[in-house]
């Protein structure tokens, strides 16, 4: 099967994620969509790894997953902290850092 199919799926997943990040206001959903984008990227990496027949892409995908796990940790932690402050769970309302 041609690599193009894999890449097409990867691009679709990535785009879905990107659209979600741009349109949704709930930070939990935004985080979910970020995960989608990362996994879209991972898919492309694995596909390339298969194409070249070596493990480099897979290693990179594992690194991406690790980073994603860290990011989710911090993100969820922040959301919990925001909730405890009884602040709205809405990225548009949370714009106090505005310049």
């Amino acid at each position: 099967m041609s690599i193009a199919w894999y890449l097409a799926v990867s691009a679709i997943v990535f785009s879905l994620g990107a659209v979600g990040v741009m349109t949704r206001r709930n930070p939990l959903v935004v985080l979910l969509c970020l995960e989608l984008m990362l996994n879209g990227g991972n898919l492309a990496l694995i596909a390339f790894s298969r194409m070249w027949g070596n493990g480099d892409g897979q290693i990179l995908a594992i690194v991406v997953m690790t980073v994603a796990a860290c990011e989710v940790c911090i993100g969820l932690g922040m959301i919990v902290a925001i909730y405890r402050q009884r602040l709205p769970i809405d990225v548009d309302e949370l714009r106090e850092l505005q310049g």
């Binding site: 990107a18 990040v21 741009m22 349109t23 206001r25 548009d92 714009r95 106090e96 505005q98």
Partner: protein, 687 residues
């Protein structure tokens, strides 16, 4: 130790003294009555003097043909074509100068310990004074043009610090600024002159530079092509501008009389014995260049002659005792500048030495007298101090006789030797010769006018008080120049004054200088011995004008004429100011009876209107130009257009960027995606 090691030591001691007194001021000034800074300063200069003696002895141990030593510590800059080194030149000329400078300075430091005793700025004073001596020694020891310029500028800065030492006196700060500005004019002359010379010789080193000039760097052949090189003449005249500014020659002389605002020992040190002689040294040092540019030499000789005459006439009419001595200094420096410009190098330097002795002595004696007058400096309020201050009177007489050139005092031999050489040059130099002797007559008159008015006649109240054993004190210390009340907190001596009769260090310093003023002339008696001539000869080995003077006819005429004019001047002064009495009937009568006397008197009292002339020709046009530039160029172009325009652009730009920062995370994400997509598309389409 080698000869140059002594040279470095001469520089090291005063520098060390400066640093110790400057950085240790909290410790040294803490006790309030501790005089440690004074003794440290004096010791530093005395050690420098001993090192200078060492250099002299070491130098005499070498063969007469091999007495020029250059020593370099490190390179300042090693670029192609520039040999800027930290180097000193030790030869008879520089050793002569360091001996005079450090010797006289030691005594002045010693004198200052008493004179400045009650001054709050005691430590600061000695730090400045040591720095001044260091700068002067650096100037005379410099082995290349670069170091010479550094020393030259240091001396100007040090004199600024010392003139405005009592910085709450408005007159003192103004005088300091004036001296600094005029000295900077001289610095510019020196730097530009150096450039003109460097351009042709390609080296900054003094000796190499002279050698290059003598072997044709300026188009002269060794055989003696008489055609002047324009660049060399320009360079030498620019060097002369430097010399004139430092040595207070017309028209750059107006700072010197104003500089009398500093403490009296400062006047003695920098405005009589050392700083103002830098110009004389410069011309003597640069003699190989000047001898190739006779036009520049003539300029120097004429300016020197004019200065000695003009300063002498102004000295006749001044009433401030320190200013009389200041104008006398200008006049005597005029002799030296004339001397070294006509080729009387040894005579000019000889006069420099004797003048350092008797002028420092006169200033010190004047300081003592001003102390007895509780700070008053006007001759009109002085009189009859002869009995009250016998020691000071004696010093004044010795200094005055030496200054007037009465044999066997030191000024007699040195001044007449300058004039002798000038006369021997023949031609129009005879005019300078005659001016010199007119100047000698004026010198005797104004010197003894000062002495007779201060010490003879009816004693003034202060003198009577002192005879009764009590030193006069002013109720409120006032600035003698403008009557302003003094601020004693920042270091004015206040009610306590020092007089030589009551302070041993002052007496020691003055006695030693008096010995020099009496005896220094005997070092070189015409036709008998040529100590100075012989000692300095190695420095002037290539000079065409440096030769023993043998025309005895002119010598006898000159010496006789000098003596007679000196005596006549003293007699005239005696007739006018002693016989004539304190009411000045005689001098007023002369003024009224001689045709044009009043006009001349007004001219002399107003110092030939030089201050006004400079104000009109230089200061006002420059100030007007400055105002114009400020109002149009600065306000309209720089402030409104350049600066206003720049801030406007930055403000508008930042307003636009600020609007993009709205805090919507989704908006940022969209921008990011758009941006990445854009970049991706760009590369895709490129490929």
């Amino acid at each position: 130790m080698s000869t140059t090691t002594y040279g470095w030591l001469v520089l090291a001691f005063p520098l060390l003294g400066t640093l110790i007194t400057a950085f240790g001021f909290r410790v040294l000034g803490g006790g309030g009555s501790s005089r440690a800074a004074g003794w440290i300063g004096t010791a530093a200069i005395f050690l420098a003097f001993l090192a200078a003696l060492g250099a002299l002895i070491s130098l005499q141990g070498h063969a007469a043909t091999d007495r020029q030593f250059v020593s370099s510590l490190w390179n300042y800059a090693s670029t192609t074509g520039i040999d800027a080194q930290m180097s000193i030149l030790v030869d008879p000329l520089s050793v002569f100068m360091i001996l005079v400078v450090s010797g006289v300075s030691t005594l002045i430091h010693l004198y200052s310990i008493s004179y400045m005793d009650k001054d709050r700025g005691f430590v600061r004073y000695f730090s400045y004074l040591n720095f001044f001596v260091f700068s002067m020694l650096l100037l005379v020891l410099a082995g290349n043009f670069l170091l010479l310029i550094v020393g030259w500028a240091f001396v100007g800065a040090a004199s600024y610090l010392l003139i405005s030492f009592w910085y709450r006196r408005t007159t003192a700060t103004k005088a300091g600024i004036k001296a600094f500005v005029i000295n900077v004019v001289g610095d510019v002359g020196l730097v530009l002159g150096t450039y003109f010379i460097f351009k042709h010789t390609g080296t900054l080193d003094l000796l190499k530079s002279f050698h290059a000039a003598e072997t044709g760097a300026f188009g002269h052949t060794v055989a003696g092509n008489t055609k002047d090189s324009g660049d060399l003449v320009a360079g030498c005249i620019l060097l002369l501008v430097g010399a004139f500014a430092k040595s207070a020659q017309i028209p750059l002389h107006t700072w010197l009389p104003d500089a009398m605002e500093g403490p009296t020992p400062v006047s003695s040190l920098i405005h009589a014995a050392t700083m103002v002689t830098a110009g004389v040294y410069l011309i003597a040092r640069m003699h190989p260049l000047f001898e190739l540019a006779p036009a520049a030499q003539d300029v120097g000789a004429i300016v020197g002659a004019v200065t000695l005459l003009v300063a002498g006439t102004i000295g006749l009419a001044q009433t401030d005792i320190k200013k009389v001595i200041a104008y006398s200094t200008m006049s005597q420096i005029g002799y030296m500048i004339m001397g070294v410009s006509v080729g009387a190098y040894a005579a000019g330097l000889f006069h420099l030495m004797t003048h350092a002795f008797f002028k420092a002595l006169l200033f010190m004696a004047a300081g003592s007298l001003i102390g007895a007058m509780a700070g008053e400096q006007s001759l009109q309020k002085m009189g009859g101090f002869r009995k009250a201050m016998p020691f000071t009177y004696g010093c004044f007489i010795v200094g005055g006789l030496a200054l007037s050139g009465i044999p066997p005092f030191s000024g007699f031999f040195s001044k007449d030797e300058i004039l002798l050489v000038t006369g021997e040059r023949g031609g129009w130099h005879w005019a300078l010769y005659v001016i010199g002797y007119i100047g000698a007559l004026l010198t005797a008159i104004y010197t003894f006018r000062m002495i007779f008015r201060a010490f003879h006649g009816e004693p003034v109240p202060e003198a009577r008080e002192l005879e009764g054993g009590h030193l006069a004190h002013a109720d409120v210390p006032r600035n003698p120049a403008n009557g302003e009340e003094e601020d004693t907190d920042v270091g004015f001596p206040g009610p306590e004054h020092a007089i030589a009769e009551r302070a041993l260090p002052m007496r020691i310093a003055m006695s030693l200088l008096a010995l020099g003023a009496v005896g220094a002339g005997l070092i070189q008696i015409p036709k008998v011995d040529f100590v100075i001539d012989d000692f300095l000869r190695p420095s002037f080995a290539t000079s065409k004008l440096y030769e023993p003077h043998t025309k005895s006819g002119l010598l006898v005429v000159g010496l006789t004429l000098g003596t007679l004019l000196g005596l006549a001047g003293i007699a005239l002064a005696y007739r006018i100011w002693v016989v004539g009495g304190r009411e000045l009937r005689a001098s007023t009568a002369i003024r009224e009876r001689v045709p044009g006397g009043e006009a001349l008197y007004t001219l002399f009292v107003n110092k030939w209107y030089f201050d006004e002339l400079i104000e009109m020709l230089v200061v006002r046009p420059v100030a007007a130009l400055g105002d114009f530039a400020r109002d149009t160029f600065e306000r309209v172009f720089v402030d409104d257009t350049l600066i206003g325009g720049t801030t406007g652009i930055v403000r508008a730009g930042s307003a636009a960027v600020r609007a993009a920062q709205n805090g919507f995370v989704r908006y940022y994400a969209a921008l990011l995606v758009l941006g990445v997509t854009g970049v991706g598309l760009y590369f895709l389409l490129q490929a």
